[in-house]
Amino acid sequence: MKNPFDSLDKILEHRLRLQIVSVLVANDSYDFNALKELLETTDGNLATHLKALEREKYISINKSFVERKPNTRYKITERGRTAFKKHLEAMEELIKQQKR
């Protein structure tokens, strides 16, 4: 049988990245400041992990201007949604196995 540890997503094993992806799965899109407020993190920390997720093409970025201020919105991609689902299933599988 396949080891569920192998199914864990290496990118999403980081807590904050997993949290970012879960917010984006639940919402159409979310902007940088709202994410920062919700996740109670710093600009730099959030930006680093958003970049990592973008590099993996788990999220997409849409930059625009709202009232002349730059506004960056993030969206989950299909690839990101699938990865999130698989990661959750792997975590659940691990919990189940250890209970036995």
Partner: protein
């Protein structure tokens, strides 16, 4: 085993985060109860304006005609709406502070937009109805559009709100069949239902 607990913690935090990022959890049940009481007070004032000396539950045969009465009724309805909105905002702000979150965040902004679209549509539509003298269907239209607005925003609110929305729509449709009971249904929909659901939510989420 500790690894196992870490996964369970992760899953739990994800679940909370997903809910918190979609739902506006600072809405106070108390504001529903108060809005219901304002609506009943407004309906009481309207009763003495147009219905008296008929018994409150009796069917009105003749339709309203006088423009000044219509304006007064409109004034009462708008006053009830404005005072309810202010109450809702103040209580939500208080609850948000207690929860340590901002009342004006991405979720509440989305909520306002989702509520506003059917509500503004309804308000304009009702003004057109009044303009054309279709006074009898104004009260049911209030209920139906309000119910649709709640339904539209229910994804961003507690689950009970969806059922409040269904109830308002059903009440509005029945009311449309019985225009002479307009005031009675208006009081039931905006007064009694708000108090009922407000109490339910207060018991479940505010304590």
């Amino acid at each position: 085993m500790s690894q196992n607990e870490a996964y369970q913690k992760d899953i739990e935090s994800i679940r909370q985060l997903m809910e918190r990022s979609v739902k506006f959890l600072s809405l106070s049940g108390l504001s529903g109860i108060l809005a219901g009481l304002y609506a009943l007070a407004g309906a009481g004032a309207a009763y003495f304006l147009v219905h008296f000396p008929l018994f409150p539950t009796s069917y009105r045969q003749e339709s309203l005609q006088a423009d000044d009465v219509i304006l007064k009724l409109l004034g009462i309805a708008i006053l009830v709406l404005v005072v309810s909105l202010i109450t809702g905002y103040v209580l939500a702000d208080r609850k948000a502070k207690k929860q340590g979150v901002q009342v004006w965040n991405a979720t509440s902004k989305r909520l306002v937009v989702n509520l506003a679209i059917p509500l503004v549509t309804g308000a304009l539509f009702i003004l057109v109805l009044l303009w054309h003298g279709h006074y009898g269907v104004a009260a049911p239209a209030c209920l139906v559009f309000y119910g649709l607005a709640l339904l539209n925003a229910s994804a961003n609110l507690f689950d009970e709100i969806r059922y409040l929305g269904y109830s308002e729509i059903v009440l509005g449709l029945i009311c449309a069949l019985l225009p002479g009971y307009g005031l009675f249904f208006w009081a039931a929909g905006f007064g009694v239902l708000h108090i009922l659901y407000g109490t339910l939510m207060y018991k479940k989420y505010d304590r």
